[in-house]
């Protein structure tokens, strides 16, 4: 028996709409749940004071600083390497077996569980290079973890820039490099930014890599070789060791809000950039 297209159409709308609704509902539920449980303990003291009694009391200031510094250093390492690789793959190399292997390699790297990067960072940076636990080995390991994301998003963004722009630029006497700087990169920037934002998000929320490589010392860092405890790690330790569930939720609330802030801010900046170019 044939079902009337009217019903299949209605069913499709219902199923797809339902899927969207379930996804959104789960997301909203998690955010609201964490915020409701966490926000009551969040106040200025919580944000700006040092923790006391292993985090049972006091604030999370060192964790906030640790998270920011670790993420910034990781991105500062990964961004030039990743975008550089992407420029090479997209602008300077012909599609050969070699570039396909590089691409396959980066794709595989993107699928590796983060704890493997943590273990590698621990064995290589912390132990073999004798760096000890600290911001630098932590940031290096995070950088390796997010590199594939930055490379692939940047490469796709550059490939999406019309070929004719490159021809025009070259025909106006630009070298390959000038074309990359003045035409390809500005037009690929929104795409590159997306990759960077994804990487920032992953670095902020990462625990496994950070525990293995940056350690978990609850103190304000004074150098790149000091160990730090990020918010995500702090949350994990507070819950696992049964120190303070309230403060764990408080930390989680701050974490979620900062990720939201970072995302909103970067999209706002990106839109302003695009608006200025197409005015």
């Amino acid at each position: 028996m044939r079902i009337s297209p009217r019903y299949t159409q209605a069913a499709a709308v219902a199923i797809l709409g339902g899927a969207t609704f379930v996804t959104l509902a789960v997301l909203v539920f998690i955010v609201v749940f964490v915020l409701v449980k966490g926000l009551p303990v969040v106040n200025l003291d919580f944000l700006l004071k040092n923790p006391e009694e292993m985090g049972r009391a006091g604030g999370i200031f060192p964790c906030i600083v640790g998270t920011i510094v670790l993420t910034l250093v990781a991105i500062a390492i990964a961004l030039p390497l990743g975008v550089g690789t992407a420029i090479y793959l997209s602008e300077y190399s012909v599609e050969t077996r070699f570039t396909r292997i590089i691409r396959f390699g980066t794709d595989c790297l993107a699928g590796i569980p983060s704890i493997i990067f943590g273990l590698f960072g621990f064995i290589f940076f912390v132990t073999t290079l004798k760096m000890g636990w600290g911001i630098l080995p932590g940031a290096l390991s995070l950088a390796i973890m997010v590199l594939p994301t930055i490379i692939r998003t940047s490469e796709e963004a550059m490939k999406a820039v019309p070929w004719s722009y490159r021809e025009v630029s070259c025909s106006l006497g630009a070298t390959r490099w000038a074309t990359v700087l003045k035409v390809v990169l500005p037009n690929a920037l929104p795409g590159i930014m997306t990759g960077v934002m994804l990487s920032v998000g992953r670095s902020i929320e990462e625990t496994a890599v950070v525990i293995f490589t940056a350690g978990q010392v609850l103190q304000l860092p004074t150098s790149l070789f000091d160990s730090v405890r990020t918010m995500a790690v702090h949350f994990y330790i507070l819950v696992r060791e049964g120190i303070s569930t309230e403060n764990a939720y408080g930390t989680a609330a701050v974490l979620i809000i900062s990720v939201l802030l970072v995302n909103t801010l970067s999209y706002w900046m990106m839109n302003r950039f695009i608006a200025r170019r197409t005015k």
Partner: protein, 253 residues
């Protein structure tokens, strides 16, 4: 014809992969004239044009044989400065491609690359180029808005102005009017006829009427071969080759 020769193609061939797009073309481009190149689609017109400022280099499948001399110098010799060549030999493409930036920035793109930074200098250059491309009056009040907002005809004249701003010696045009309405086409043709006093122009066109209107010399290409070249009136009124006659009288192509 005793006009000086600006560009000289000597037994020049272009290959894309295994396909041969041009077969041993020998063709002189006279200085301060408009050379029209006509021929049906796939006859190698564009390949020839792109060879003259080595834009074919961007396509890594492309290989060339023979020589192209610019003022007597082979542009395909290994140590020839390609960037300098492209500044001397500018190109306007079939589809207008304004870069996604303001009109002003589009026009000064080339000059800025050559190191011209002084604002008054750039301002003057922009005005002069837009005047020469018959676009100044239409856009002088919105030089700093996006070039993407112009109409198709205006965009193509902007592309012409952008090439003029580099102060090249030769301008290559690849079917510059294929997407334009008759009025815009007339404007561009008008600009070209004025410009040939200062520049050497090579115009590839699908439109034989356009060649007969503006070209001083016309060359007819067919399947990668140069069939006939001569002064425009002679080529159109009394072609020597039967195939030329067939093409211009609209029997094929």
């Amino acid at each position: 014809m005793t006009a000086a020769v600006k560009i000289s193609n000597r037994n020049f061939s272009v290959f894309y992969g295994a396909t041969r797009a041009l077969r041993g073309i020998t063709l002189d481009v006279p200085a301060h004239q408009i050379l029209g190149i006509i021929g049906p689609a796939g006859s190698g017109k564009t390949a020839l044009l792109r060879a003259m400022n080595r834009l074919n280099d961007l396509d890594l499948n492309c290989r060339v044989e023979g020589q192209i001399l610019l003022d007597g110098e082979d542009i395909y010799q290994p140590d020839f400065d390609v960037v300098r060549l492209r500044k001397r030999v500018g190109m306007v493409f079939a589809l207008p491609v304004p870069l996604p930036m303001s009109l002003f920035d589009n026009i000064v793109f080339g000059p800025r690359l050559s190191g011209i930074r002084a604002r008054p200098c750039l301002n003057e250059l922009v005005e002069r180029s837009l005047q020469a491309a018959f676009l100044w009056d239409e856009v002088k009040d919105r030089l700093h808005t996006s070039a993407l907002r112009l109409s198709g005809g205006q965009q193509q004249r902007l592309c012409l102005a952008r090439v003029l701003a580099m102060e090249p010696e030769v301008i290559l045009l690849d079917e510059p009017c294929s997407g334009l309405d008759p009025i815009s086409t007339a404007r561009i043709e008008e600009a070209l006829i004025t410009l040939k006093n200062e520049y050497t122009i090579v115009l590839v066109t699908n439109n034989t009427k356009q060649a007969s209107r503006v070209a001083d010399t016309t060359a007819f290409l067919l399947q990668g071969e140069l069939i006939e070249v001569g002064p425009t009136p002679q080529l159109f009124m009394a072609p020597k080759d039967q195939r030329t006659n067939d093409y211009i009288s609209g029997r094929f192509g």
